[in-house]
């Protein structure tokens, strides 16, 4: 790694939810760490001064789900291309689901991924370990060894564990070592061959629907098992209001469960699919306006603790197909923050809350040292202009996946500088 500079970030509005800070002040970075705020420490001389006047200085974003496509699907994207996209979006920590090829169910795979991440040196790559071997839902992975190899949590990606006894044992085992499970609530029988939300639009388009119950049935099942086993668990990518209600009730009973939502679920609904727009094909599906509004409220109130990109870059052909045949997912790294800021501009939540859900919130539920600007912390910092207005041009995305339904959306707010461990890894100007 290149020699680390002393950096003085000057005149920005520092939002650091983990420390309840929201004020204009200077930050000082040395040896890759944040060393002070406010007045310069004695003897500090800056090699580099970043003028952050009229900009927001916040912790680098922590993204709970980004598929980098490496290894196995390099024709879609590579770790290098997607890490570059991540930092252009202010993301300094990316959790990678285990459904790569090969699957992350061995310590060697986990090591390989973290090693590649370090080699590229743009964003922290945190692998999620497979909960069951080959994501098959039958036998447990070597969770403890995977954890030691760097897996921050365990997930079966979008592969359902239909055998409830396997799920129970997985939870029991994980709870023995206080490991976090990330759960995708989907009943494959109810989803069947569905490709969008079951409702008016699926009926109009003659597309097989995925009923809301495909999610709520499994949320209810897993909550019962979480309650019995006491495992630390997190529900990923909720799509429906009723799932949120189930989780809120469980939290009221004292369960330590958390949840996240993908940013596109806070903006789009089933209506966006109306013209067979394959760019809006996602899993879980975009649901009703009522669901979207309920998810927004839940994020604002803290019933949902994190917003993620659910980044899934695709080659052009993957979306150039009949709706049911198109591959699901949105390229989301570079729109995570701007679409979040859109919620702020629309009055859904304040800026502090947004920064919390994008940084300290996900870091806290993962139990990792990130998402904070405390002195002594690694200098993972995002500096953005909350007012700059721009139109998204999907062809200009750094991600190799240009599959975004947000092209031509007017956005307000854009990342100017990203620091990773004290290195300026991204600078727009």
């Amino acid at each position: 790694m290149a020699e680390l500079m002393n950096i003085h970030i000057q005149g920005g509005r520092v939002i650091d939810p983990a420390n309840n800070i929201d004020r204009v002040e200077d930050l000082y970075v040395a040896n890759g760490n944040i060393i002070a705020s406010g007045d310069a420490p004695d003897g500090f001389t800056a090699d580099k001064i970043i003028d952050a006047t009229n900009q927001i200085v916040c912790p680098g974003l922590v993204d709970l789900s980004a598929r980098m496509r490496e290894p196995g699907q390099e024709y879609k994207a590579t770790l290098k291309s997607e890490c570059a996209a991540a930092i252009a979006g202010g993301i300094t920590t990316s959790c990678c689901p285990p459904d790569t090829t090969p699957i992350i169910d061995t310590p060697a795979m986990a090591n390989m991924l973290t090693h590649r991440g370090r080699e590229i040196g743009l964003t922290h790559i945190l692998p999620l370990g497979a909960l069951t071997n080959a994501l098959g839902g039958k036998t447990l992975s070597d969770m403890h060894a995977l954890h030691r190899a760097g897996c921050v949590a365990f997930s079966n990606a979008n592969h359902a564990i239909t055998n409830t006894m396997v799920m129970r044992r997985a939870m029991e085992y994980a709870s023995s070592f206080d490991l976090l499970l990330i759960l995708h609530a989907n009943d494959p029988w109810l989803s069947d061959n569905g490709c969008m939300h079951e409702g008016e639009i699926s009926t109009r388009l003659g597309l097989a629907g995925i009923p809301e119950a495909a999610e709520t049935v499994i949320v209810a099942r897993d909550l019962a098992l979480i309650e019995q086993t006491g495992v630390r668990a997190h529900f990923a990518r909720l799509s429906s209001a009723r799932s949120v209600d189930l989780i809120v009730q469980a939290r009221k009973r004292g369960l330590k469960v958390t949840a996240d939502v993908a940013i596109h679920h806070l903006h789009l609904t089933e209506y966006d699919v109306s013209d067979f727009n394959t760019l809006c094909r996602v899993i879980p599906p975009l649901r009703s306006e009522r669901d979207r509004d309920h998810l927004r409220t839940a994020v604002e109130q803290g019933d949902i603790q994190a917003i993620c990109s659910d980044h899934q870059p695709h080659e052009r052909d993957a979306k150039l197909a009949a709706f049911s045949e198109a591959e699901p997912g949105i390229s989301g790294l570079e729109t995570l923050l701007p679409l979040g800021l859109k919620l702020v501009h629309e009055g859904v939540m304040d800026l502090n809350t947004l920064v919390t859900r994008l940084s300290s919130g996900p870091a806290a539920l993962l139990g990792i040292k990130a998402g904070s600007l405390s002195a002594g912390c690694l200098a993972d910092i995002c500096i953005f202009d909350p007012h700059e207005e721009w139109l998204l041009d999907s062809a200009k995305l750094l991600s190799k996946g240009h599959n975004t339904p947000f092209k031509h959306w007017p956005l307000k707010g854009r990342v100017n500088t990203t620091l990773l461990a004290g290195n300026i890894v991204y600078s727009r100007v």
């Binding site: 079951e198 409702g199 008016e200 699926s202 009926t203 109009r204 388009l205 003659g206 597309l207 097989a208 629907g209 009923p211 109306s274 013209d275 067979f276 052909d317 979306k319 150039l320 197909a321 009949a322 709706f323 049911s324 045949e325 198109a326």
Partner: protein, 320 residues
């Protein structure tokens, strides 16, 4: 959006993809144009030179001898050059090869594609990717739309009923999986019928079907009470395996159209079916072959209606 795709900037019908999004005047024009062609069909020499020099490709990714044949006859009566292709679905389910197939045929100067595909939305997908001078007619896409079938049904209804405004229409059977039903509902609503009912067990009714402007009935007798038109749908036999309904016997007992169940309908009610018929499953032979059945006229009308749609899309005929 969808309206935009089907019309040119100056309001001419460019593609015929779904009834949803089409203006009432367009549907009426199809019916009146088909009227004219019906008269030609009764002559000894049935050819018209309207589409001479145009190339029509029937691109049927999903098999259908009946629909393909009527499209072929329709195109030939209009003097078009017709090519039938059945590329199958397996190798072309991915968008790349699907659009490749179309691109290659387009490079051979095809003017009109008549497309059938097992996946919903394919006709629309292709329509978005062809150049301005190429036209698309949807001959059935997945469970989404079958607009020429719906128009020949409307044409047939009009032959037997004086006006759409006062009609009560019941559509009976597997609404969930039926592109025909969806297109019929849009056509009937656009033409302004008095009431549309759909009749099926809830397991064969799609979610929020009422939002399409219909009343849902689980009971056949109630659903048929006083209706002027009964539109039956084909029930695929594999529905039993997937637990949509218990058995053929139970389905026929509850939803099969028989002389007895038909008694609830208006005395002059007509019976329609898009075919092929499952005799003894959704309809008894006595009714299917009875005096109120217009199933065969439907088939005959399919030619004139498809001629009308082709002429309107390709030529200047009936556009305004």
């Amino acid at each position: 959006m969808r309206q935009h795709l089907q019309y040119t900037d100056n309001g001419k019908l460019r593609h015929f993809l779904s009834i949803e999004g089409l203006k009432k005047e367009t549907l009426q024009q199809i019916l009146s144009t088909a009227d004219k062609f019906t008269q030609f069909g009764q002559r000894d020499i049935k050819k018209l030179p309207l589409l001479r020099g145009h190339t029509v490709v029937n691109l049927f990714f999903e098999n259908s001898s009946r629909t393909r044949t009527t499209f072929e006859i329709a195109a030939k009566r209009l003097s078009a050059d017709v090519i039938n292709l059945n590329p199958g679905t397996s190798s072309t389910s991915k968008g790349e090869t699907l659009l490749d197939t179309v691109n290659i045929l387009e490079a051979m100067h095809t003017d009109l594609f008549v497309i059938r595909h097992a996946k919903s939305g394919v006709a629309e997908l292709i329509a978005r990717h062809v150049p301005d001078h190429v036209h698309i007619i949807n001959a059935g896409d997945g469970q989404h739309a079958h607009p020429t079938q719906a128009m020949l049904d409307m044409f047939t209804i009009r032959q037997y009923k004086s006006t759409f405004n006062e009609l009560r229409v019941a559509i009976v059977g597997d609404i969930l999986h039926s592109r025909v039903a969806r297109s019929q509902i849009h056509a009937l609503n656009t033409l302004g019928v008095h009431e549309i009912r759909v009749v099926a067990p809830n397991s064969l009714l799609p979610s929020q079907i009422e939002r399409l402007g219909v009343h849902a009935y689980n009971d056949l007798q109630q659903g048929l009470e006083g209706v002027d038109v009964v539109m039956m749908l084909r029930l695929q036999k594999e529905r039993m395996q997937n637990a949509y309904i218990p058995s053929e016997q139970e389905y026929f007992n509850l939803y099969g159209l028989t002389t007895e169940s038909l008694a609830a309908a208006a005395e002059d009610a007509i019976i329609m079916h898009p075919g092929p018929i499952n005799r003894g499953l959704e309809i008894s032979s006595v009714v299917a072959d009875g005096p109120r059945s217009v199933i065969l006229p439907q088939v005959t009308n399919g030619i004139a209606v498809r001629m009308a749609v082709m002429a309107m899309v390709l030529g200047g005929e009936g556009n305004g």
